[in-house]
Amino acid sequence: MIIAKKIVKTVTTRAGELTILQGIDLHIKPGESVAIVGSSGSGKSTLLALLAGLDNSTGGEIYLGEQPLHAMNEDQRAILRAERVGFVFQSFQLLQGLTALENIALPLELNRVEGAEQLAEQYLNKVGLGERGHHYPNQLSGGEQQRVAIARAFASQPSVLFADEPTGNLDGETGQRIADLLFDLNRDEDCTLVLVTHDDELAARCERRLRMQSGRLSEEG
């Protein structure tokens, strides 16, 4: 469950103070899949960052489960992320110095999960890359890298998975396959999915669609 109450985010620029989010209220139920859509600069990625505890809001309250993200410092949020949150980024964000298997095992180890490597192997198999575990990111294609990123995100069995334009850097066909994988795993693992996308087709696969416009959020159809 994610609850956001009157979230405000302002940043200071040379031109003065800029308000990106103007009092957002949001309630996401456990297991729900939600797409946040909107034009560039509308504030959707900022909202995602705040909901995931990657950034601090200027005002308002955010709860991830029972935990008040707005009252936590960066390290407390980091520990919470390790326990309950998974991420998939547009540009994959794999550690180049680690193999595919190690990239998946890393968050498990950070969370002190027993048998991290075996679990990582299981998820690597789930995304169909069982044979590529010892390959480094630069030896994998974009689609393969995103599969590793998805395996990494699900391996720690998060209660919420945040995805930021997960197919944005991939061609149509690969994007389609990655989206299938994401939704399949989401269904199997029964976790909440919050994704930000420009892709209407992808958004349409979610149970709820929220539109962000000039820092305000509205529910679609």
Binding site: S45, L54, D75, I79, F87, Q90, Q93, P107, E109, L110
Partner: protein, 822 residues
């Protein structure tokens, strides 16, 4: 130009240029500072050598030289002074004493200074630039004691009576005449004639000092030399280097060498920061190109911008170099004499050339890549193709490095040698680091600080190798110098420990030995062995006359009365190299010092004949002995067993330590033992100790430069990988990595680097030290456990601190940047 200035200002404000600028300043300051100081030191040493001769050139002769020679010198505007040395009796107070008389002309000393005091054995003295006036005599302290006279009394030399006006403490051309016939009396040359001392057959030494500009001196020397006879001896600056000068020259060579490393490291840091500067401008250039800027203009813009930066760095570095030179001058203040002719511009021009060569060799290749950036990069994330091949880049960097070293050392041998050494080290470190980095990281949990650190080191493999090479070579040099310095200092301190004898007492008669020992003991002065001394001449080797057996050069060193002694025990710091010490069965021969044996080509069993007075003594070499000539104790070429020399008249010699408060007792002692001559070495010992300290301080300053340059490379290499580090740390935070984990991982990364670099450095330093100890210092190679403890104990914390401080920004990277990156 306007655009370049604008860009320079913008980049400066954006923090892009500070490191490049700092590296350029460091290189310029090192080169200009050390070359400037080196020039000052050279000029000063030259001056001091002239002081040591009391002129630029000295002609010695047993007879007055042709007046024509002196007239010729005067006609060439060469300054000239003259002194006459001889043994003569001095009378005063109804006492007489054999003196080593020196009569000096007006103008003496042409170079250097005389040191005089108002009272004998006084701690206060002052320097003067002239000898005694007509009618006056300056006496050594011991002479005043022996004659029991004080300044203001009269002294008779030959047929003239002179006023004892000052105590003579030191003279520039004294040399090291330990066994001169008696204490010094210095008078004016005019008074020598009225003393009427010189008669046919007198043993007199005439010395003529000349001084003029180098070119005039050289032409006069060329004119004079063909006319010289065997009895004449011409000494020039080449053979007049005081012993101290050797130490100072070694220090200077060291400064050059260690400074070279600082210059090379700065060059490397310049290369890395220039590379980073260019990489960060690829997007900028791509946009400029889409807006229509040509390749030529791109190159012009960036080249002008960097050129302006180099000029600015030359000015700041020149000023810093001047400061550095002043710092060295302060350290060596007491050894430097005023030298006006050292150019201020030359070192600065060297510095400017350093900055320009550094930029050309290290910044030009990345600049070329920048120039070739494709406009397409604005559309796609293209990595620019480097227009220069790897080999060409290496060649340019190599040529640049040689050019830098040449500017700095002015020696092909040194420059190529250093570069070769560094290349060899690079290869070894490259292989070692490759082996190290291939160690699998499964020995540690991946998400532990050490696991992450290891992964990071492996990931930035090239940077890790480069960092290892830089740290290990810098640490090796630091460790090497520290250990050599410690070895040398320990060696010195072992030979000159606290309470090292600082006064020699010679000419002690046999009947005085026991009494003297008692007197000294009563006064609380520890006595060393009192050695008997018999004067004898080596005349034959294996039945052949010495003159036919040894070279003319060697004849000069042994064709004089040598000091022979006897002793049952092997004296301290003497080691029997060949043969055996006394058997005590009456068949014992003589023990000879090893270097003399080598020079004369002598071996065990060779027969020697000595002439002692009118008697002949035949013996054979039973042992060859090495000894430490640096120790302030009586040392002997030849030692006999007890019983062989006893029938010959002997005097005794010993050395004692007298503290400043004990020194006044000498006056009373000299009255009681009037024939004993005391040679005061305390000033020389203090000077030697002070030199060692000064050289150590200079080494520390250069250490500082090397460490600064190493830090610059460390920072440059961290900044080069900053972007990736930021992203990685943000990602780790996203996945739940806490600040302590990231900080510890960063710390471990530098601890591992430090440990590996120290391991390589200590190992390399021990190997080099073994070579230096056995080849240069002539001592047995020894292991330096302290090195393995002290070097890591100091360097690793410093490395970790600098490393973490430079990586700070990336450690605080908020995870939200990953979304912005997208």
């Amino acid at each position: 130009m306007k655009l370049a200035l604008k860009m320079l200002g913008r980049d400066w404000r954006g923090g892009e240029l500070q490191l490049l600028f700092a590296c350029l300043v460091l290189a310029v300051a090192t080169v200009s500072g050390i070359t400037h100081f080196s020039a000052t030191l050279q000029a000063s040493l030259m001056q001091q050598s002239k002081d040591f001769l009391a002129g630029s050139m000295v002609l010695s002769s047993p007879r007055p030289v042709s007046a024509e020679w002196l007239d010729e010198a005067r006609s060439r505007n060469i300054k000239l002074s003259e002194n006459v040395g001889m043994a003569s009796m001095a009378y005063a107070n109804e006492k007489m004493q054999l003196a080593s008389l020196k009569a000096v002309s007006t103008g003496y000393p042409l170079r250097g200074q005389l040191r005089i005091a108002d009272q004998p054995y006084s701690a206060e003295s002052r320097v003067v630039q002239h000898g005694p006036a007509v009618g006056e005599a300056w006496l050594a302290s011991s002479m005043a004691s022996l004659l029991e006279i004080s300044p203001g009394d009269q002294i008779e030399i030959g047929k003239t009576s002179l006023l004892f006006s000052k105590v003579l403490v030191d003279e520039p051309d004294r040399g090291f005449a330990m066994f001169s016939v008696g204490p010094r009396v210095m008078i004016n040359l005019t008074d020598l004639a009225s003393a009427d001392l010189i008669m046919p057959g007198s043993r007199v030494s005439y010395r003529y000092q000349f001084d003029a500009a180098d070119a005039d001196m050289a032409s006069y020397k060329a004119w004079l030399e063909p006319q010289l006879q065997d009895s004449h001896r011409l000494r020039t600056l080449d053979d007049a280097q005081p012993r101290l000068a050797e130490a100072l020259q070694r220090a200077e060579r060291f400064l050059l060498l260690a400074g070279s490393l600082a210059v090379m490291l700065s060059g490397l840091a310049i290369a890395m920061s220039a590379q980073r500067y260019c990489q960060r401008h690829f997007d900028h250039v791509a946009i400029l190109k889409t807006l229509g800027m040509t390749e030529g203009r791109v190159l012009g813009l960036f080249a002008t911008s960097l050129l302006l930066l180099a000029l600015l760095a030359s000015v700041v570095g020149g000023l810093a170099g001047f400061g550095l030179k002043s710092l060295f001058e302060q350290v060596f203040a007491e050894y430097l004499v005023d030298v006006a002719e050292v150019s201020l511009w030359r070192p600065w021009l060297f510095g400017l050339a350093t900055a320009m060569v550094s930029l050309l060799a290290f910044a030009w290749p990345p600049l070329r890549a920048l120039q070739k950036t494709s406009a397409m990069a604005v559309l796609r994330d293209l990595v620019p193709v480097d227009p220069l091949s790897q080999t060409l880049r290496l060649l340019i960097a190599g040529a640049g490095s040689v050019a830098l070293l040449m500017i700095y050392t002015q020696s092909w041998f040194l420059s190529l040698g250093l570069l070769g050494g560094l290349a060899a080290l690079t290869l070894v470190v490259g292989l070692l680091s490759r082996a190290l980095l291939s160690v699998p990281r499964r020995f540690s949990r991946l998400a532990s600080p050490l696991g992450l650190a290891w992964a990071n080191l492996q990931r930035h493999r090239r940077h890790t190798q480069l960092q290892l090479m830089v740290y290990s070579s810098a640490l090796m040099l630091v460790g090497l110098l520290w250990a050599v310095r410690s070895d040398l200092l320990d060696d010195w301190r072992a030979s000159l420990p606290e309470n090292t004898p600082n006064h020699f007492m010679v000419n002690v008669a046999e009947y005085e030995v026991e009494n003297l020992r008692q007197q000294l003991t009563q006064a609380g002065v520890a006595t060393e062995t009192i050695f008997p001394m018999v004067r004898g001449r080596l005349t034959h080797i294996n039945g052949e006359s010495v003159r036919t057996q040894v070279t003319k050069e060697e004849q000069r060193s042994i064709d004089r009365e040598l000091n022979l002694t006897w002793n049952d025990e092997l004296p301290p710091k003497n080691v029997v190299e060949q043969g055996e010490w006394w058997r005590g069965d009456g068949s014992d021969g003589v023990s000879i010092e090893s270097r003399l044996a080598e020079r004369l080509g002598l071996g065990l069993g060779d027969e020697l004949r000595f002439q002692i007075g009118a008697d002949i003594l035949d013996t054979k070499i039973q042992s060859i002995r090495s000894l430490d000539w640096q120790q302030m104790r009586p040392n002997f070429y030849f030692i006999f067993p007890t019983g062989v020399l006893n029938q010959f008249p002997a005097t005794y010699i010993t050395s004692v330590y007298l503290g400043a408060e004990q020194k006044p007792m000498l006056t009373g002692l000299m009255r009681e033992f009037p024939t004993i001559t005391v040679i005061e070495m305390d000033v020389i010992i203090a000077q030697i100790n002070s030199t060692v300290d000064r050289v150590s301080q200079a080494i520390e300053i250069v250490f500082g430069l090397v460490l600064l340059a190493t830090a610059a490379v460390l920072i440059a290499s961290i900044l080069a990988s900053q972007r990736e580090r930021r992203r990685d740390n943000a990602l780790l935070r996203t996945m739940g990595g806490t600040s302590p984990l990231l900080w510890r991982a960063c710390g471990w990364e530098f601890i591992v680097l430090g440990l590996a670099a120290n391991l390589i450095a200590c190992f390399g330093a021990e190997l080099s030290l073994a070579a230096i100890q056995s080849q240069l210092l002539g001592i047995d190679p020894s292991f330096h456990p302290q090195l393995w403890l002290v070097l890591p104990a100091i360097s690793i914390p410093v490395l970790v601190l600098i490393g973490i401080a430079s990586s700070r920004a990336s450690l605080y990277e908020p995870p939200v940047v990953l979304l912005r990156d997208s």
